[in-house]
């Protein structure tokens, strides 16, 4: 991996607080880390540790108070709103704990909402097969289980083949088995499409399937480890 690829995502001195005066709360207190291209990075931490805030800042939907973020050499802070939208459109995919699917579009059409944003989207039928949704492609979201809906939302995020896939507690609302299915899918996506994945979770067990684990507490990085003994999602237990 080249130096550029190794520092595909670089965060320096990132600070963020909410409120002012007495109610001021420092959420991120100066973070420094890098994520390599194609890495599966997990942001771990308890509630309120700032991991979701960090993810939102990386995704360009929230701003930092201080510090710099470089993605593939581009400085995020220098982008205006329009450039940020373009950046998200071209380079980012988002998966949330809630699937946020459009209720009156079917599975395929929901994925098309992602494909529309890319000039060279992945082949949707093939992706549907990869996601195990091909036979469900004409169904509306309310005809699907939670896991299936989350798969659709992952499909919608990766169909544009983004450089970075940001996942905010993607298994937070799912049961054990379904969670493992989704994690397997994310692992496969990472392996198959080579996207850099940054996943926020409070589930410690997931760290074992990641390449890179960053652990936050009270707005600070407590651990920044490279996992050399990656296991598959199927092997995870919690």
């Amino acid at each position: 991996m080249s130096e550029n690829e190794r520092k595909f995502l670089e965060v320096r001195g990132l600070k963020k607080s909410f409120g002012s005066g007495e109610t001021r709360q420092d959420v991120l207190r100066g973070l420094d880390f890098t994520v390599g291209k194609g890495e599966f990075c997990v942001l771990l931490g308890p509630s309120g540790s700032g991991k979701s805030t960090l993810l939102n800042i990386l995704g360009g939907i929230d701003g930092a108070d201080d510090g710099e973020i470089y993605i593939n050499g581009d400085k995020l802070a220098e982008m205006d709103e329009k450039s940020l939208t373009r950046y998200r459109r071209k380079h980012l995919g988002y998966v949330f704990q809630m699937y946020n699917l459009i209720p009156n579009l079917n599975v395929k059409e929901n994925i098309e909402t992602g494909a529309y944003l890319s000039d060279a989207p992945l082949d949707i039928d093939e992706l549907l097969k990869t996601l195990g949704l091909y036979e469900h492609r004409h169904k509306l979201p309310n005809q699907l289980s939670g896991g299936q809906q989350q798969r659709v939302s992952i499909g919608r995020a990766i169909v544009k083949n983004p450089d970075i896939l940001l996942c905010d507690e993607p298994t937070g609302a799912l049961d054990y088995t379904t969670s493992k299915e989704i994690l397997r899918l994310i692992g496969e996506v990472n392996a198959r499409y080579g996207n850099t994945i940054i996943m926020v979770t409070h589930n410690e067990a997931i760290r074992h399937m990641a390449d890179h684990v960053i652990k936050l507490r009270d707005g600070k990085i407590r651990h920044d480890d490279i996992n050399t003994e990656k296991i598959t999602a199927d092997e995870l237990e919690w």
Binding site: N100, T113, Y116, A120, I124
Partner: protein, 927 residues
């Protein structure tokens, strides 16, 4: 690591949100259908109105040329001779002063010469007589002297007798001859010429002094000293007779018909049914009046005492609206008719002939201002030319076309209908646009997570704005298209038949009307787009994160509003109210809009009814007879034996404003009058050198906002003369625009002799005065013309309009309550899970809306009444007369109940909707 070469890529799909637009519309089809239908009907009706108006206006405008419509007409007291007609047609203002001076000089010249000649002759005769006498005396005395010398003595008596005889002989013999020869030389003498000149100069000086004195006033009165360009015109005799008409079939009906002889040059007509009369037994009458009375082609009609066969129904170009007199408050197509016969047929009709002339300007005025100036100048031509005519001729009436209600009322009414329709359409579109916007906002709130996700994924604001704008734009555009098609087809006929029901209009051709397209299609679509755009953009400006967090309030909710310690249900309802304030504001606007319309629909017939019922109470005397002159043909004062009849004086003046010149009847009232009682203090207050004081009628005061103590200016109709009066008080009389003053003051102001009066008034019908002396009779029937015609033109539509208002109210409330319930679907589902039954839930969620409707209605009632009061004033400002807009208590109750009934229907729908919300909804994932 990257294995992109193994990946297969597809094509970028079309925006899947586009597919969603149609599904959104299908999913919410009831709401969209309501809005669609409401817009279609309104746009259809308004566009039909524009198309009908434009086509009809085009036909009317075309008629000016096509049917050679007059530029105006005037009535003279006697037929004009060829010289006068030529003088009027020349359009030159006669130099009244010069003509009068010339005439006075001519008269004076003869008089002076006669006088001088007479004086000279007397003098000459005296001289000649003296000479003759002295000559004769001398001759006789010479003879006697010679005789004396011869010794013949003559007595003194003999001498005197001889002298007398000689004088007699001389006088009878050559005196006259001597006188004429002496006169001959006297007339040739310089003395005579200079005497004559001197006398003439003196006489002229006297004439000049008198004329200057008298005619300075004349000049001012007619504005004669101002140079005006000639107004050349062509004149055409349009004599007519106003007589009684009676269809033999209808025993009870009696009307007036204005019959003209054959019109071949000016003011032609459009035949809508049948043909023009061809022989002396045939008549063609106005189509509108025929429709109202039920006369058809082929029917017979008694005109005065002569029977005719109706062979044609027509629209006369100078009578698109049937105004009998231009000063009438309202047209009257019910009892007034216009007709045309052949010249022979015209001769068969007995009745007084009105010497009416129509004129057309040689140079057409460019606009209405130029037309007004031309009309003013032509009036001057008319006044001066009649003043200088050899025969004594008076102008009895002068009506330029621009001020002729019979010509202008229909197009003006159509114009104001059109602008009022346009305003209503815009208000409705704005109300609907806001409903759309509130709906869109509710949808944005509901879909906040999806929007947040899409924005986070890289969808631009523009893409989302376009998407959320699509449904409203599609619905409005479709409604505009369908509405326009309806406008050009079905609705056009509805509007046209409304106009044909009021006016005597010619045939027309449907025209493509760009105005209709712009006003009913372009502007509503733009309004809809702009309002939705503003609301949607405002919300979509929020960051993706705010959407993801459902944090859509512009300003962060600081704290929940603290509520007093009410019972749980009351507090719950208050929360529902606070949550839905924007919806309730829209509901308030919508209901107020409906109430304004409803005030018109309920108030107008009520106002007419009220006026009709109370007009006879309002009149100070049931019958007023205005005489042509107060002396009969034999010079005796006209009297009446009618019980309670008393003399009064009346004079018509004009109250002029920028928009409308209104006729004011100024009454002179006897102090002892049993009908009009003015304050004693008023009669006694004779002091004051300022403006004469008078009372104004309540109607006059209300219409023009006149108060006691104000100064008002009233002017002569056809003269440049203004009177300023000081308003002493308001007299409680609502049936007419009038002013009252004491007889003394009246006579002084209008320069009348003591004992002058213009007519009689009485509560008992006055029947013993010969009709030929009566200029005008005013009964309560005349006062009711306005209300009867308004009732006929609009009455029937008002009932339908009431139903339309209820439907509009129901739709607006349906759309808004739907939003409120949808917004709370999850909470309703949750309270269902908690164990509340449907009735309790309805009490929680529906009572709030019911209370809002209940209170809103009261406010809206007031707003509707106030706005209609203003609209009514604007309408009547363009008409003569005045009566205030009245809604009796039961009218308000009716309005209130109609809207509340609409709400009750909707609340049933709402209750069903609440009942259908499934319990599982609350447990489902938010999306």
């Amino acid at each position: 690591m990257m294995r992109e070469n193994e990946l297969s890529f597809g094509k970028r799909p079309k925006n899947p949100l586009n597919k969603r637009v149609w599904r959104d519309i299908a999913r919410d089809w009831k709401r969209y259908l309501m809005i669609f239908l409401m817009l279609v009907v309104t746009i259809g009706f308004i566009s039909g109105m524009y198309v009908a108006n434009n086509s009809m206006m085009h036909s009317l405008d075309g008629g000016v040329e096509k049917f050679n419509r007059e530029s105006g007409h005037f009535e003279l007291s006697a037929k004009a001779d060829a010289g006068m007609i030529a003088a009027i047609e020349s359009g030159e203002t006669a130099d009244v002063v010069a003509v009068f001076r010339e005439r006075a000089y001519e008269e004076a010249e003869k008089e002076v010469e006669d006088a001088v000649r007479k004086a000279v002759e007397e003098k000459v005769r005296e001289q000649v007589k003296e000479e003759v006498i002295s000559g004769a005396t001398k001759a006789v005395e010479a003879q006697f002297d010679a005789a004396a010398e011869l010794g013949l003595e003559v007595s003194a008596e003999e001498r005197k007798a001889a002298i007398d005889a000689a004088i007699d002989e001389a006088m009878s013999g050559y005196f006259e001859q001597a006188v004429s020869s002496a006169l001959e030389s006297a007339y040739l003498s310089a003395d005579y010429t200079s005497a004559l000149d001197e006398a003439m100069t003196k006489a002229r000086e006297e004439i000049d002094r008198k004329i200057d004195e008298e005619y300075a006033e004349l000049t001012e009165r007619y504005d004669l000293d101002k140079e005006t360009a000639p107004v050349p015109v062509k004149l055409c005799e349009l004599f007519y007779k106003d007589v009684e008409e009676k269809p033999p079939s209808d025993a009870g009906y009696k009307g007036t018909v204005r019959v003209y002889s054959e019109r071949s040059r000016f003011d032609l007509y459009d035949i809508l049914d049948g043909r023009a009369p061809e022989n002396e037994n045939e008549i063609m009458i106005d189509r509108m009046h025929a429709d109202n009375v039920g006369i058809k082609v082929g029917d017979s009609l008694r005109v005065a005492r002569t029977d005719f066969t109706v062979v044609g129904l027509a629209a006369f170009v100078d009578y698109t609206t049937l105004y009998e007199n231009n000063t009438d408050t309202m047209f009257d197509a019910l009892t007034f008719n216009v007709a045309m016969t052949t010249d022979e047929g015209y001769k068969r009709i007995s009745g007084a002939e009105h010497i009416n002339y129509a004129f057309i300007y040689d140079n057409k005025p460019a606009d209405v201002y130029a037309e007004k100036e031309l009309a003013d100048n032509f009036l001057k031509v008319l006044i001066t030319q009649t003043a200088v005519s050899e025969k004594k001729t008076e102008i009895k009436d002068y009506v330029p076309a621009y001020a002729n209600h019979a010509i202008t009322f229909a197009p003006n009414d159509m114009g104001s209908d059109e602008s009022m329709g346009g305003v209503l359409l815009y208000i409705l579109v704005i109300v609907l646009a806001f409903i759309f916007a509130v709906t869109a906002n509710a949808a944005l709130e509901k879909e906040a997570s999806v929007i947040g996700t899409l924005r986070a994924s890289g969808y631009t604001k523009g893409e989302l704005v376009r998407y959320y704008m699509s449904a409203p734009v599609i619905v409005v555009t479709l409604a505009a298209i369908v509405g326009n098609v309806l406008g050009y087809t079905l609705m056009k006929y509805v509007v046209i038949s409304m106009y044909y029901n009021s006016y005597s209009l010619p045939t027309y051709e449907t025209l493509w009307t760009p105005d209709a397209f712009v006003n009913t299609t372009v502007i509503p679509v733009i309004l809809m787009i702009v309002i939705n755009l503003v609301v949607i953009i405002r919300t979509l400006r929020l960051s993706p994160l705010q959407f993801l967090r459902h944090d859509l309030k512009k300003t962060r909710r600081k704290k929940a509003v603290r509520l007093p310690k009410w019972k749980f249900f009351a507090r719950f309802r208050m929360r529902v109210f606070i949550q839905n304030i924007p919806n309730y504001i829209m509901m308030f606007v919508g209901i107020s809009f409906v109430m304004i319309l409803l005030s018109m629909a309920v108030g107008m017939p009520e106002t007419l009814k009220y006026y009709q019922n109370s007009v006879s109470d309002m009149m100070f005397a049931e019958d007023q007879v205005i005489l042509i002159s107060n002396e009969d043909d034999d010079g005796n004062t006209i009297t009446t034996e009618t019980e309670g009849a008393e003399r009064f004086s009346v004079y018509s003046l004009m109250h002029r404003t920028d928009n409308f010149d209104e006729e004011v009847s100024v009454y002179g009232i006897d102090r002892e009058s049993a009908y009009i009682a003015l304050d004693d203090a008023y009669y006694e207050n004779t002091a004051g050198t300022g403006h004469p004081e008078l009372y104004v009628s309540k109607a006059f005061a209300e219409k023009y906002g006149i108060n006691a103590g104000d100064l008002i200016s009233l002017s002569e109709k056809y003269e440049n003369r203004e009177y300023t009066f000081s308003v002493y008080g308001i007299y409680d009389y609502s049936a007419g625009i009038a002013a009252f003053m004491s007889l003394d003051r009246f006579n002084k102001v209008f320069d009348k002799d003591d004992g002058y009066f213009s007519g009689y008034m009485s509560d008992t019908p006055i029947t013993d005065i010969d009709e030929k002396y009566i200029a005008k009779e005013i009964t309560s029937e005349d006062m009711l013309k306005l209300t009867k015609q308004l009732d006929h033109s609009m009455g029937a539509y008002m009932t339908y309009f009431q139903y339309v208002c209820v439907i509009v109210a129901a739709i607006i409330m349906y759309l808004l309550t739907k939003i409120i319930i949808e917004k709370n679907e999850r909470s309703i589902s949750m309270v269902k899970i908690l164990g509340y039954n449907n009735k309790e839930i309805a009490l929680l969620y529906m009572v709030t809306t019911a209370a809002v409707v209940f209170i809103t209605e009261f406010a809206a009632l007031y707003i509707g009444y106030a706005v209609m009061g203003i609209v009514w004033k604007i309408i009547l400002m363009k008409l003569g007369g005045w009566f205030p807009f009245v809604i009796p208590a039961q009218g308000f109750v009716k309005e209130y109940l109609l809207v509340f009934a609409a709400y009750l229907i909707i609340s049933i729908a709402d209750f069903i909707r609440i009942k259908r919300i499934p319990k599982v909804l609350a447990l489902k994932n938010a999306e």
